[in-house]
Amino acid sequence: MAVLVYTENWDGKFKKLAFELVSYAKKLAGMLNTSTTAVSIGNVDKSELEKLGKYGANKILTIQGDNFNVLDNRLYATAISQVAEKESSDFIVLSNNNTGKAIAPRLSVRLKGGLVTGVISVPDSLDPFTVIKKVYSGKAMAKVVIKSKIRILTLAQNSFGLVEAAGKANIESFTPEVSAEAITINVINAEKQTGKIILTDAEIVVSGGRGMKSPDNWGPLEELATLLGAATACSRPVSDEGWRPHEEHTGQTGKIIAPNLYIAVGISGAIQHLAGISSSKYIVAINTDKDAPIFEAADYGIVGDAFKVLPELIKAVREAK
C-alpha cells in the first residue's frame, strides 16, 4: 500500500534529488493516508540511508550486492517491480532524470501501471487521479488522469523542493530474484573526475568559445567559475581543437544544459551552440563583436575584450563576497 520512491545514489551518496523525491512521496502518502517506502539500489552506508528518514521515508529497502553496483536500467526495473509487488504499492515515484526516464517505462509495462513523466506538483485530485505536467517546452500545463490501479510518476527536478519531516526509517534489505541471463553489464574500468562540478547539475556555468584564442587563456575563466561555484563548459570548436576536454562541449551535439546562469565568453552564438543552452534562465554574453548572434539570446551583454572584462568581473565578484 505504501508509496514507493526510488532514490538513486552516486557512489553511495544521495543527492538533493533523492531527498526531494522522498519529500514529494511523503506528501503524496499523507494525502493517501499511507506510508512511504524508499528503495535504494547499490552499496549505500547505513548512515547515508538514514538521511532519507529525515525527509519522511518510513521504511527503506536496500538492495545490495555485486550485481547491483552498476546502473542497469533493465535490472533495476526488475528489482523495483519486485519490491512494488512485495509491498503491494500502487504509487511509484521516480526522478525525471535519465535513470528515472529509463526505468519508469519498463516498470509501467511490467506492472501494467499508467505512467506520467515530468510531473511538477502533487496530484491535483485523487479521484480521478490527476497530475500536472509541463507541455510545449514549458509554455503550457497539462492535467493528466491516470486510470490504472498502479500509478507511476517521474518528478521534474527542482519542482517540489525539500521538506524535512521528523521521523526515523526502518532499514531492511531486500534481495530480488534475478536470473543469471538478466545480468548483462560488466564494468571493466571507470575513470572519475574529481574536484569538479558536474556540468549538467551546475546552477551556474561559465563557458568559453574560440574567442578565448588559445587553451592557455582559460585561467581567468576558471578563476571566475571557482569563485561562483560554477562548472566550466565550452563550445564545439574549442573541444574539437582539443583546447578543452570533450565532456565540456555544450550544444546541440554535446551536452544540453539549463543552468540558472550561463556566462558565455567569446562565444559568437551559432545555432548549434544556442540549441544546447537556450533553456538557461539568464544568459550573459561577453564578446568583442557587437553583431555577434549571441547578443540576441543574451539577457545581459558586454561588448568587450574578454581578457579585460574577466579580471574586472572577478574583482567585482570578490568585492561582492
Binding site: 517546452s137 509554455k139 570548436p237 546541440q252 551559432a270 545555432i271 537556450s278
Partner: protein, 693 residues
C-alpha cells in the same frame, strides 16, 4: 564445310548463353519494387539521345571523354564489319562485301582507323588506371575483382582490335602471291603499315596468321560478349535504357510514401485515414532492407554502373575521408542482387539466406550522406544513388528505430516544438519584435488577403544569426511595399530534415498539418528564404495536396531588380570581391544557379567563382540531416574543405542563400581564423545593406 559447322555451333552457343544471362539479369531487375515510368516519352528519348548516345555528361572531363568517345564510337562502327565476318563464317565466303569495289577499301580503312583509336584509348585508360593510378580507381571498394575486371576489358579490346589489323595486313600480302585464292582487292591504309613486318613469311605461314586472327577475333568477340553480363561492362547495353528511365523530377524531390500518408491521415482524421490505409494496405514494411524493396529502376542502376567513380570523386563525404562512397553503394546493391539471383536459380524463389543489403552497406556509410546530389549530377548514365540511400535510411529509422541519437532528438523536437531545435513555437515571432511584420491571422481577422506568404522557416525564427537575414528580407519587402504576411506562431517545420533522415512519418505529419494551415488561408504564393523549405514546398508538398506558386527569394530579388522596382542606391560593395556558394537545394537540386549571381552582379563587379561551382559546387556538409548531428568519422569536416575553396579565391565576401550553409561556412571561417579576411553574408543582407535599409 567443317569450318562452317564449327562456326555456326560456336555462334549458336554464344548467342544461347548470352541470351540466357541477359534473361537472368532482366529477371533480377524485375525483382525490384514495381513502379511505373512511362511519362514524358518524348523528353525521355531526347535525354537518352543527349546523355547516352551523345555522351553529354562525359565531356565534363575532357581527357577521359575523348578516350571514351574513341572507344565507344569505334566499338559501334566496327560492329558493321562484324556483320561481314558472321556472313563469311556461316557461308564459307571470304570478304563477301568486297564486291562493292573501291568503297570497300575505304570502308575497311575507316574501320582500321577506329581500331587504332580504340587501341589508343584503351592504352591511355590502362595507363591512367595502373600507372598514373587516378584516385578514383584506387578507392577502397576498387579491390581485386573490380580492378581486374577493368583491365581484362581493356586488354581484351586491344587484342581484338590488333587481330583485325594483323588479319588485314596478312590478307594484303597474300593477295600478291600468284594463284592465291585471296581476291586481289587491294590494301588498307593502316594495316599496310603493318604488312612490311610480315613480309618475310611464307604463304603458308601468312595464311595461318590470317586465319588465326580471323578466328581469334570472332571467337574473342563472342567470348567477350558472354563475359559482359558478368562484368561492369554491361553498361554498354544498359546505359541506354537506364538513361531513358532517368529521374526527370528535380533532384531534390524524394519519392513519396503513400503508405505513410495513410497512417498519418488516420492520426489526423479517422475517416479519411481508414480509406487511405485500405488503399495502401499491401505495403507491409517501410523503406528498404533488401534489393527487392528497392525499385526496379534502382536495380537497373546497379547493373548499369561501370564503376567509373565520378560519383565518389564528387561526393563531399568521400572527399573528406568518410566511409561513404556512392559507387560502393551501387556496387554493393549489384553484388547483393547477384547473390539473391543465384539463390533463386539454385534454391528456388522462396529461399531466404538470412542476409540483406545491410550485410554489405554499413549504417556509418548511410548516415554520412548529405543528400547533396553531387553523385547523381556526376553520373554519366544518370544513376540515382540518393534514392537507395534514403530508402535504406527509411528502413533504419521506421523499422529498426536505429537512427543516430542526435537525429532522434530532432525528430522529437520537430514533433513537439515544430522545429528541429528545442525552441517554443510561441517564440516564432521574436525575431520580428523590433520591426514591422504583418501576421496572417491578424490580416485574416480584418478580412485582408495578402498577395504573398513569406515563409520564414525555423532558422529565420530561431537561429540568432539567421534572424538577421529574415529581418533583412522583411525590410526589403516593406521597402517594396509588397502586400505580404508571415504565419508567425502558426508556422511549423516543413519536415525536410526528418524526410531526408528517413523519418517519413514525422515529415508527413508536418506536411499535412502545414498544408491544412496554408490551404485554410487560401494561400497562392509563397516566398521562401531557406532553400530546404523551398524544395519541400515546390517539389514535395504538391503530391500531398499542397499546390502553391513557390518563389525562392533570390528569384524574387532578381525579378524586382530586373524590372527596376528595386534600385540599388549605394555602392558599399562595389569594390568588394564576392564569391557565391551554391546551396545544394537551390543549385543542383532545383537548377537555380544564375538568379543569385545576377542579384550579386548589381552590387559588385568583382565576382569570383570558386573552383567547384554551380552544378559541381561542393556541399557545405549540412544537408540530409547532417546539420543536426556530428559528422561521421573522416579526415576532415566538409565545411573546412569548402571554406578552403572560398579562401583560395581571395574574395572578401562569401555570399550564401541558405541558413545551413551560413552556419557551416561561418564555422569554417572561424576554424581557419580568417574572420578578418573573409565575411559571410546572405544575399538578402547584402541587398538590404546596399539599399541602406
Amino acid at each position: 564445310m567443317v569450318k562452317q559447322i564449327i562456326f555456326v555451333l560456336i555462334l549458336a552457343c554464344a548467342i544461347y548463353f548470352f541470351y540466357n544471362n541477359v534473361r537472368i539479369i532482366a529477371r533480377n531487375i524485375r525483382l525490384g519494387r514495381d513502379i511505373s515510368i512511362n511519362d514524358n516519352r518524348w523528353k525521355r528519348w531526347m535525354i537518352m539521345l543527349r546523355v547516352a548516345i551523345g555522351q553529354s555528361k562525359m565531356v565534363v572531363r575532357p581527357v577521359s571523354a575523348i578516350m571514351h568517345i574513341l572507344v565507344y564510337v569505334g566499338f559501334i562502327i566496327i560492329n558493321i564489319e562484324m556483320l561481314e565476318i558472321l556472313i563469311d563464317g556461316i557461308f564459307g565466303t571470304h570478304r563477301l562485301f568486297s564486291f562493292i569495289g573501291n568503297s570497300y577499301n575505304i570502308l575497311i580503312t575507316v574501320f582500321e582507323f577506329f581500331a587504332i583509336g580504340v587501341i589508343f584509348g584503351c592504352i591511355i585508360f590502362l595507363v591512367r588506371r595502373n600507372i598514373l593510378r587516378l584516385k578514383r580507381f584506387w578507392n577502397k571498394e576498387m579491390t581485386k575483382w573490380p580492378r581486374t575486371d577493368a583491365n581484362i576489358i581493356l586488354i581484351t579490346e586491344i587484342f581484338l582490335m590488333s587481330a583485325i589489323l594483323l588479319m588485314n595486313a596478312s590478307d594484303t600480302l597474300l593477295q600478291s602471291f600468284p594463284g592465291s585464292h585471296y581476291a586481289n582487292i587491294g590494301g588498307f591504309t593502316v594495316s599496310s603499315f603493318i604488312a612490311p613486318l610480315l613480309s618475310g613469311m611464307s604463304e603458308g605461314s601468312l595464311v595461318f596468321v590470317e586465319r588465326f586472327c580471323w578466328w581469334f577475333h570472332i571467337v574473342g568477340v563472342l567470348a567477350f560478349l558472354n563475359y559482359i553480363p558478368y562484368s561492369k561492362h554491361f553498361h554498354v547495353f544498359l546505359a541506354f535504357p537506364n538513361v531513358y528511365y532517368s529521374k526527370l523530377k528535380p533532384k531534390g524531390e524524394l519519392e513519396n510514401m503513400p503508405s505513410i500518408t495513410g497512417e498519418v491521415m488516420l492520426m489526423l482524421n479517422e475517416e479519411v485515414g481508414a480509406a487511405a490505409e485500405e488503399e495502401a494496405a499491401e505495403e507491409i514494411s517501410f523503406g528498404a532492407k533488401d534489393v527487392n524493396d528497392l525499385t526496379w529502376k534502382s536495380l537497373m542502376d546497379a547493373y548499369t554502373c561501370t564503376e567509373c567513380g565520378r560519383c565518389t570523386s564528387g561526393c563531399p563525404a568521400s572527399i573528406t575521408g568518410k566511409k561513404l562512397s556512392p559507387r560502393k553503394i551501387i556496387m554493393d546493391t549489384r553484388d547483393r542482387l547477384e547473390i539473391v539471383g543465384r539463390n533463386i536459380n539454385k534454391k528456388g524463389k522462396d529461399f531466404d539466406d538470412g542476409k540483406s543489403l545491410f550485410d554489405f552497406i554499413s549504417h556509418e556509410e548511410l548516415w554520412a550522406c548529405t543528400t547533396c546530389n553531387a553523385c547523381t549530377i556526376e553520373c554519366p548514365v544518370n544513376i540515382d544513388h540518393v534514392s537507395i540511400i534514403v530508402e535504406l535510411r527509411r528502413y533504419l529509422v521506421m523499422e529498426m528505430a536505429s537512427a543516430p541519437g542526435e537525429l532522434n532528438s530532432i525528430f522529437t523536437n520537430i514533433e513537439n516544438n515544430g522545429a528541429p531545435w528545442q525552441f517554443s513555437p510561441e517564440d516564432r515571432l521574436v525575431w520580428a519584435e523590433k520591426i514591422e511584420v504583418p501576421v496572417m491571422a491578424d490580416l485574416h481577422a480584418r478580412g485582408v488577403k495578402p498577395d504573398y506568404l513569406f515563409w520564414v522557416g525555423c532558422a529565420g525564427a530561431f537561429d540568432d544569426r539567421y534572424k538577421k537575414v529574415a529581418r533583412a528580407f522583411t525590410k526589403i519587402l516593406n521597402h517594396l511595399k509588397i502586400n505580404y504576411a508571415v504565419l508567425g506562431t502558426e508556422e511549423s517545420c516543413t519536415g525536410d530534415p526528418a524526410r531526408r533522415a528517413g523519418n517519413e512519418m514525422v515529415f508527413q505529419m508536418q506536411a499535412l498539418t502545414n498544408i491544412e494551415v496554408l490551404n485554410g488561408y487560401d494561400i497562392k504564393n509563397i516566398i521562401t528564404i531557406c532553400p530546404h523549405c523551398y524544395n519541400v514546398f515546390k517539389n514535395e508538398y504538391p503530391e500531398l495536396g499542397g499546390k502553391y506558386n513557390v518563389i525562392n527569394y533570390t528569384l524574387f530579388l532578381r525579378d524586382q531588380l530586373e524590372s527596376g522596382k528595386l534600385m540599388i542606391s549605394s555602392d558599399i560593395f562595389a569594390d568588394k570581391s564576392i564569391t557565391y556558394h551554391d546551396p545544394c537545394y537551390l543549385g543542383r537540386c532545383n537548377d537555380i544557379f544564375d538568379p543569385p549571381r545576377e542579384v550579386l552582379d548589381t552590387i559588385s563587379s568583382r565576382k569570383v567563382e570558386m573552383k567547384r561551382n554551380k552544378s559541381f559546387a561542393l556541399c557545405c556538409g549540412a544537408g540530409g540531416g547532417q546539420m543536426f548531428k556530428e559528422a561521421e568519422k573522416g579526415d576532415k569536416e566538409v565545411f573546412i574543405e569548402r571554406i578552403e575553396d572560398a579562401l583560395e579565391t581571395g574574395a572578401d565576401i562569401i555570399a550564401t542563400a541558405c541558413p545551413f550553409c551560413m552556419t557551416m561556412l561561418t564555422d569554417g571561417i572561424k576554424y581557419k581564423n580568417k574572420e578578418e579576411e573573409l565575411k559571410n553574408y546572405d544575399i538578402a543582407e547584402l541587398i538590404a545593406l546596399s539599399l541602406n535599409l
